[in-house]
């Protein structure tokens, strides 16, 4: 690509404003003859090493170049896709995308100066309120990195609160979340135990009862579980609390539009992934870890918390008299945080996911109570209708896990899962997740297929047709 000709003496780049004249004036003030002198403290043998980097692209070259990179992905073209497993293509109201693009929100720093950050702060208070309402919990922070790290922080918090060193994790849980829990538990030298999946998530009491003891700080449970089943959290909390262990529930926020608020079931900490209700899946990030807890634990929370307060003094009116102080918002309970408490902080958390949290808040408030419930029910109905149609095909079974399930079901066909996926891919369909290698009986030989409120009915038709034609070629019998 052609190199750009900068006018002699002009600025070096559109993002850097200094002309030769600026440099001359500034260096004169410094008593220097060249900017190279500014770097003389770097020992010469380390200074200005030869580097290999591609040449600069002008803006329209960059756009063409990036468009080519973007085109080299299946996602560039509209196609039927049934992969979920923790990252869901959802319906996000356009309003959310529009608000997060406002430079006043997008280009601000963490709100350390509340007087000129009320937009970020008040929106964060809205976020905490939305998360509390959705989860049925009493307090929430302004969000953590993602569901995995948020759940890990919940486990660390439970260990601090209970002063116990073992953590139990109930299968089926997302393998990525489990991996993050291992990383963080290892860092804190906690013992992590995986509890085998109960046969029916709607009746998990006995599986949990036998696995928990006085050494456990908490039990981590996913709702709906990794294979899609809806868990009866009331039974889980009853069993865990008998042992003095806390319950950390990892919840899908859309499912909570329909399902019982975990706080009503007695859960102690709720985490979740907010990304997909706030904006695009974006290859799984940036994400948004939701984190809410009981009020008793507010001073143990990781991350940032915004509080509502008032001005110390009201503004002066036209006659100079002090008026009523106005309402404002501040970062609060900061004595928990790293920049004050350093090595005694509750977490090292600093930069988080504020802009994603804003998108999440605007999206949920735009949907409103009925819109969220309708979206959740639409998701449920579309998934169940799709499963019923596939289950009726010769050679296939499509069933949800347990008595009740939400948006993901287990698909078995006349071919092993990897081959079935390959055949679907040939037809331009992203067919789901191959569950080979999982311990659960019902996962053997199955694909995890996801249908959401945002899955167009035509895509389900395409999947059914494709499965029919693959099945017809095989002529198999129902595997279930």
């Amino acid at each position: 690509m052609a190199a750009r000709e900068a006018p002699a003496g002009g600025a070096p780049h559109p993002y850097i404003p200094h002309t030769d004249e600026d440099r001359r004036l500034m260096l004169a003030r410094l008593g220097l003859s060249s900017t190279a002198e500014l770097f003389q403290e770097i020992p010469e043998r380390f200074r200005d090493p030869p580097l290999e980097l591609p040449p600069a692209l002008a803006e329209r070259e960059l756009i063409a170049f990036m468009a080519a990179r973007a085109a080299d992905n299946a996602a560039a073209r509209e196609h039927p896709r049934f992969l979920g497993a923790g990252a869901y293509h959802r319906f996000v109201p356009s309003v959310a995308g529009s608000i997060v693009q406002r430079g006043e929100f997008a280009t601000a720093y963490t709100p350390y100066q509340p007087e000129i950050s009320q937009g970020t702060l008040q929106a964060a208070f809205e976020f905490q309120s939305v998360v509390c309402e959705l989860t049925g919990m009493e307090v929430a922070n302004t969000g953590l990195y993602d569901v995995g790290s948020a759940t890990a922080e919940a486990v660390l918090m439970a260990a601090r609160i209970t002063r116990r060193r073992a953590v139990a994790v109930l299968e089926p849980i997302h393998p990525g979340t489990l991996d993050v829990l291992r990383t963080y538990a290892g860092a804190a030298d906690l013992e992590l135990e995986v509890v085998a999946a109960p046969a029916d998530p709607a009746d998990p009491g006995s599986a949990v009862d036998g696995a928990l003891g006085e050494r456990h700080a908490c039990l981590v449970v996913q709702q709906p579980d990794f294979l899609g089943g809806i868990v009866d959290l009331d039974r889980i909390t009853a069993a865990a609390h008998r042992r003095g262990a806390l319950v950390v529930a990892v919840c899908d926020p859309l499912a909570l539009g329909l399902l019982r608020a975990p706080g009503d079931s007695g859960v102690d900490v709720v985490t979740g992934e907010g990304r997909d209700l706030a904006g695009p899946v974006s290859f799984g990030g940036p994400s948004l870890g939701l984190f809410a807890a009981r009020r008793d634990y507010v001073r143990q929370l990781p991350g940032r918390i915004v509080g509502r307060t008032r001005e110390l003094h009201g503004p002066r009116g036209a006659e100079g008299a002090e008026q009523e102080p106005r309402t404002g918002y501040v970062l609060t309970l900061q004595a928990r945080e790293q920049f004050i408490r350093r090595e005694r902080a509750t977490s090292n958390f600093s930069t988080g996911q504020q802009l994603i949290a804003l998108g999440f808040t605007v999206a949920l408030q735009t949907l409103g109570p009925r819109g969220l419930r309708e979206s959740a029910e639409l998701c449920y109905q579309r998934a169940h209708a799709a499963a019923a149609r596939i289950d009726a095909l010769a050679g296939y079974s499509a069933r949800g896990r347990g008595s009740w399930w939400f948006q993901e079901f287990l698909l078995r066909g006349p071919l092993p899962p990897a081959e079935l996926l390959a055949r679907l891919a040939e037809r331009g369909i992203s067919g789901g997740l191959d569950l080979s290698g999982r311990a659960e009986q019902e996962a053997h030989g199955a694909l995890l297929v996801c249908v959401t409120e945002a899955t167009p009915p035509g895509h389900v038709d395409a999947l059914v047709r494709a499965l029919e034609s693959i099945g017809g070629a095989q002529g198999g019998e129902d595997p279930a």
């Binding site: 509340p114 000129i116 950050s117 974006s282 940036p286 802009l355 408030q365 109570p369 109905q381």
Partner: protein, 491 residues
């Protein structure tokens, strides 16, 4: 929500609108209805605002106008590198082929995404002098945790972890460094700063023994100064059997001019939302890739992007510390940083550090008479740390007041009261994207405030008077936490 709304903070979205309004429609389900789970598994109530779409947009637009961003004006937060965020980079991250890519899709269907990751890894390695990188950490603090856990695992593998339980951190460090060390199960020993603004070498040598796992050093340091003799420090640390960690928060100062790997560091993180210009979002999302030499590469967090014959794929290093997030990192942020790198090229990146440092020195020269400068070398790198000690001593005006008064001058205050070793600190980082006139305007405001402090200290102490809101009662906020909306009568 006209500007006439005197107390916008008193009414949340929850307090607005009316039952029955809605902001967006949802398609209705026309098919056969599957039975829902029993009532015991379903939620009883959901309290969310009920607003029309226009009301929502007006409310959040009104909130946005209470904010100050880099789009609004100079934002000289020290150690935060608040530079202009190119708009084209946001558009690139929104390209459907990237934004709609699913993290678990088959590698063959996301080659463009993976190639961007691989080339970003390579570019960051080239810029920092390291052999390998993982883009997984979501932010600087998570990058730090990754780096320290890599050290921990390497020590465990060589049977040395039980003995090495201490991490050395200079007293000028960010709070995340000691907090990270503690999260990873280490104790922290603080190393004092010498009169010239570098680490006290004698103190460092005294502490370096077989009980040390690593030293974490910010490069350049939070005083905006080159850490003198850092290559000798690296030799000492290595001779003691420990690792040297670079906090790359201040990489902007030395982009293209010096590399952590060449200086003897073993592992580092860099903040893409600082040096690589991705928008800070009011507190994220960011990205904090971790980079290292050959020795620690097997321990990098998963995943890393691997280039093979025939394409790219995600891989897990053989002795990986594991995952830090459920998926692969802040990909939308990585795309923006990659687009930025491609738009700058090597010459552009060297111009970044050149003009970031030029601006900081120019600002220092304009303010050196009016404010105290501790640890002064007559020269700084990307930022200058002033002290409001003279203003406090002579006029009873604190740095806190000076910061608030800058707001009345239409500017965002710098970082204050950090680093902790500087009394009444004002830590100012203009970055390269501020034109000369903006640096001069900021200096003029600081000089005017120094005069105001002498002439009318009450004026400075009562600032801001022109902000959307005055000073807030933070003490009551912490003592009686009010952290969420509740319906009237329910609190």
């Amino acid at each position: 929500m006209s500007t006439a709304e005197r107390d916008i903070g008193a009414r949340l979205a929850f307090d607005r609108g009316s039952p029955g309004r809605r902001g967006v429609g949802v398609p209705s389900w026309e098919g056969e209805r599957a039975p829902l789970p029993p009532a015991g598994l379903l939620r009883e109530r959901l309290r969310l605002p009920e607003l029309s779409q226009g009301e929502i947009v007006r409310y959040y637009t009104a909130l946005s106008r209470l904010n100050y961003g880099i789009d609004s004006g100079t934002y000289p937060l020290g150690s935060c590198t608040m530079k202009y965020n190119p708009k084209v980079d946001d558009l690139m991250a929104a390209l459907p082929g990237l934004a709609e890519a699913h993290p678990l899709d088959d590698a063959g269907r996301v080659q463009g995404v993976l190639r961007i990751g691989c080339e970003l890894q390579e570019a960051l390695c080239s810029l920092t002098g390291f052999a390998a990188a993982s883009l997984a950490p979501a932010a600087g603090a998570q990058g730090e945790l990754a780096g320290v856990l890599m050290v921990k695992r390497a020590l465990a593998d060589r049977g040395d972890l039980a003995a090495r339980r201490r991490i050395l951190v200079p007293d000028s460090a960010h709070g995340t460094n000691p907090a990270t060390a503690a999260m990873a199960g280490f104790t922290v020993t603080q190393i004092p700063t010498a009169a010239d603004g570098s680490m006290d070498r004698e103190a460092l040598e005294r502490e370096l023994d077989g009980s040390v796992a690593a030293a974490m050093v910010t490069m350049p340091n939070t005083l905006g100064l080159w850490e003198r003799g850092i290559d000798e420090v690296a030799e000492l640390v290595h001779a003691a059997g420990a690792y040297l960690y670079a906090d790359g928060a201040n990489l902007n100062a030395i982009l293209g001019r010096a590399r952590f790997g060449d200086l003897g560091f073993d592992v580092a993180h860099v903040n893409l939302h600082k040096s690589f210009s991705t928008p800070h979002g009011g507190g994220g999302p960011g990205a904090g890739p971790v980079l290292c030499g050959e020795e620690l590469a097997p321990y990098l967090p998963a995943p890393v992007v691997v280039a093979e014959e025939g394409g790219f794929r995600l891989g897990r290093p053989p002795r990986s510390i594991g995952r830090l997030q459920q998926f692969h990192g802040s990909y939308g942020v990585l795309v923006r940083a990659y687009a930025y790198l491609r738009s700058m090229g090597l010459d552009g990146l060297r111009a970044v550090s050149e003009h970031a440092v030029l601006n900081a020195n120019y600002l220092r020269a304009l303010l050196v008479e009016a404010y105290d400068i501790p640890y002064d070398r007559g020269r700084v790198l990307h930022e200058v740390v002033l002290a409001g000690t003279r203003q406090r001593r002579e006029h009873g005006v604190r740095t806190y007041d000076i910061a608030k008064r800058l707001i009345d001058h239409g500017l965002h205050p710098p970082t204050v009261y950090f680093p902790l070793i500087v009394e009444e600190a004002l830590m100012i980082e203009p970055t390269e994207t501020e034109p000369r006139e903006a640096v001069e305007d900021f200096a003029s405001a600081m000089l005017a405030i120094a005069e105001e402090a002498a002439r009318d200290p009450d004026l400075v102490r009562s600032a801001p008077v022109s902000a959307p809101i005055g000073r807030l009662d933070e003490a009551t906020a912490a003592r009686r936490p009010d952290l969420r909306w509740l319906p009237a009568g329910d609190d």
